[in-house]
């Protein structure tokens, strides 16, 4: 790769329902760490963060009408063109909230197939720590995403570490470092993602099994 290579697109999806939200705090920390890790690996990053609650109503509307609003259309395109994705969600009733599943259900097929994805979650107590593993990871596996082995889970108490604890000694920071390192190694070894063009000229012969017009 040449030094003039275009930056990789890093898309962070923050699915917090409140504002401000601890989910967004975690999403921002993970995004900053990922940018740094990728920079350390020689990869320039163009980061975008999607605050999903801003699109909640439009997502519901699209569920009902089948077509995206201009802003949801932009969100779907961002995800479909991402070189790497960070998904951060709160845990509600043992799982991600329905708003996040709405987005997943509306993604065009293969939007995340083969794309490195890093998971993060927040919850009130540490008892939800494995929710990422038994709810979000299987969902991302279904989408054929390349899910990073380390998921970052932060209970409310994890945000207490900044009070006097050196950042590099704190368990949450350590998990984030490990996770973004794994994400960076997956991104570095992959070619930049080509842009999806939904209006590209289709190959009818490939569908028909022979050139159209020939019998």
């Amino acid at each position: 790769m040449t030094a003039a290579a275009s930056p990789r697109r890093l898309v962070t999806i923050s699915s917090g329902l409140r504002q401000p939200s601890s989910t967004r705090l975690l999403a921002d920390r993970m995004t900053r760490a990922a940018i740094a890790a990728l920079a350390g690996a020689g990869v320039e990053v163009e980061p975008t963060t999607i605050e999903l609650r801003e699109h909640a109503r439009d997502l519901t509307t699209m569920m009902l009408t089948g077509f995206p609003s201009p802003t949801v259309s932009a969100v779907l395109d961002m995800v479909a063109e991402a070189d790497a994705v960070i998904v951060v969600t709160p845990i509600y009733s043992g799982s991600y909230p329905g708003m996040f599943k709405d987005l997943v259900d509306l993604l065009p097929e293969k939007s995340l197939a083969g794309v490195p994805v890093l998971m993060g979650a927040t919850a009130g107590t540490a008892r939800h720590a494995l929710a990422l593993e038994h709810t979000l990871r299987p969902l991302l596996s279904y989408l054929r995403a390349l899910v990073v082995p380390t998921g970052v889970f932060a209970a409310t108490e994890d945000f207490g570490e900044s009070a006097g604890t050196p950042a590099d000694a704190a368990p949450l920071s350590g998990r984030i470092e490990r996770a973004v390192g794994e994400l960076a190694s997956l991104v570095v070894g992959r070619p930049p993602r080509s842009r999806r063009d939904p209006f590209a000229v289709p190959d009818l012969g490939a569908i028909l099994g022979r050139a159209p017009g020939q019998e």
């Binding site: 009408t65 077509f67 209006f199 009818l204 569908i207 017009g213």
Partner: protein, 383 residues
């Protein structure tokens, strides 16, 4: 000259303002009354949907269109859409050639894949093969209309040997075909490949999406050598509700909009009107909105409106069609004729297709046959 018309989905929907649901018999009669009204007010096209499940009545389009053909003189009869995936292309060839004869050529068709998943298994088909079915079936349909005797083998239908689809198309000229699709570039490419029309039913979609699909079709129409991109044959769907004052239109239509099938309970009337061609207001607002469609898709050939859905009572629908015919379409015809380049063609009709073929020909295929069993003599001899 632009064609203007209406298309009906044929849904049996409760009128939310009265709580009354029409019977199938009432809805079928309503569709017929709507078609006759469309002719009466000077519209050019009436198109019916094809559905095979409640709450829809039009499962048998050529039966309905045959009745309308017998009661009308001028209006063009079409479909929105004919299911090219699950219908046997042999039956489509036969049914619509028969309709051509009954209607004196006032027939064209719009092919579509349908949007009701279970229709595929109900008709013994696999929805995952939808695109393949659409392509193969249409390729066969074209041959059945253009070749007197067809030998054919494909993936989805039993082979044909020495098959003649009867009756032969009127004057030896098959009906013009449009391909309707909202989101599949494959269908736009198919329309372009054959030089057929492309109809984008934009009523649930932002104009930007419609413009990109039409742009793809136009470019490929030129690529395949059928003429310039601006000579491709384009149709659009639309949706309007009108009263003399826009406040009255909104007040009267909102209860129907809010609980309508497909988009009801979703976006507000205002959001949906901003994002799609739905226009609820005065006739002048409708004229302004639809006169500007060509700014997005280029000069086009056919504009169809959905007028009779969401449980609107028949008398209201007939009023709407009268407003469309009296106040809107005449103005749109005038305005859209201005600045329309001379080389932009009209949508093909039977008359123009006959003329392009150098005149009509008697196309009957006469076969020496046993008039009781239909067996041909040589088969009888060999028994």
């Amino acid at each position: 000259m632009m064609q203007f018309g209406i298309f009906s989905v044929g849904d049996v929907t409760t009128d939310p303002t009265t709580g009354r649901t029409p019977t199938e018999a009432e809805r079928i009669q309503a569709m017929l009354a709507i078609a006759l009204k469309a002719e009466e007010v000077g519209l050019d096209v009436f198109a019916t949907g094809e559905h095979h499940n409640p709450p829809f009545v039009p499962s048998s389009p050529t039966t309905m269109l045959g009745w309308i053909a017998a009661r009308t003189e001028r209006i063009l009869l079409s479909t929105a859409t004919t299911l090219i995936t699950t219908n046997d292309p042999v039956k489509i060839a036969e049914d619509y050639a028969m309709l051509q004869h009954l209607a004196g050529g006032r027939v064209d068709l719009m092919m579509g894949r349908g949007n009701t998943g279970p229709v595929y298994p109900w008709f013994g088909k696999d929805i995952r093969e939808g695109l393949g079915l659409a392509l193969e079936n249409y390729a066969l349909l074209r041959r059945l209309w253009r070749e007197d005797v067809v030998d054919w083998q494909g993936r989805f239908r039993t082979p044909l040997q020495s098959f003649t689809s009867t009756p032969r198309p009127l004057d030896g000229v098959p009906p013009f075909v449009w391909h309707g699709s909202i989101r599949s570039p494959e269908m736009a490419e198919q329309a372009a490949l054959y030089g057929d029309g492309f109809f984008h039913n934009a009523i649930f979609w932002p104009m930007e999406h419609t413009a990109r699909m039409v742009h793809l079709y136009r470019g490929r129409f030129e690529h395949h050598g059928h003429g310039g991109a601006d000579q491709a044959i384009v149709g659009l769907g639309g949706q309007v509700f009108m009263r003399a004052s826009s406040q009255d239109a909104v007040r009267e239509f909102r209860p129907f909009f809010d609980v309508a099938p497909v988009y009801g309970h979703g976006p507000s009337l205002e959001e949906f009107s901003a994002q799609t061609p739905l226009t609820v207001g005065s006739p002048q607002q409708v004229i302004d909105r639809y006169a500007a469609m060509r700014d997005h898709v280029g000069d086009y050939q056919r504009q169809l409106f959905l007028m009779d859905h969401a449980g609107l009572p028949l008398h209201t629908v007939l009023e709407q069609i009268e407003i469309l015919g009296a106040e809107v379409v005449p103005v749109l015809r005038r305005e859209l004729a201005v600045g329309r380049p001379a080389h932009v063609p009209d949508a093909p009709t039977h008359a123009s297709l006959v003329a392009a073929a150098g005149g009509g020909r008697e196309a009957t295929v006469h076969a020496a046959a046993d008039d009781v069993t239909g067996s041909s003599p040589d088969v009888v001899v060999s028994r």
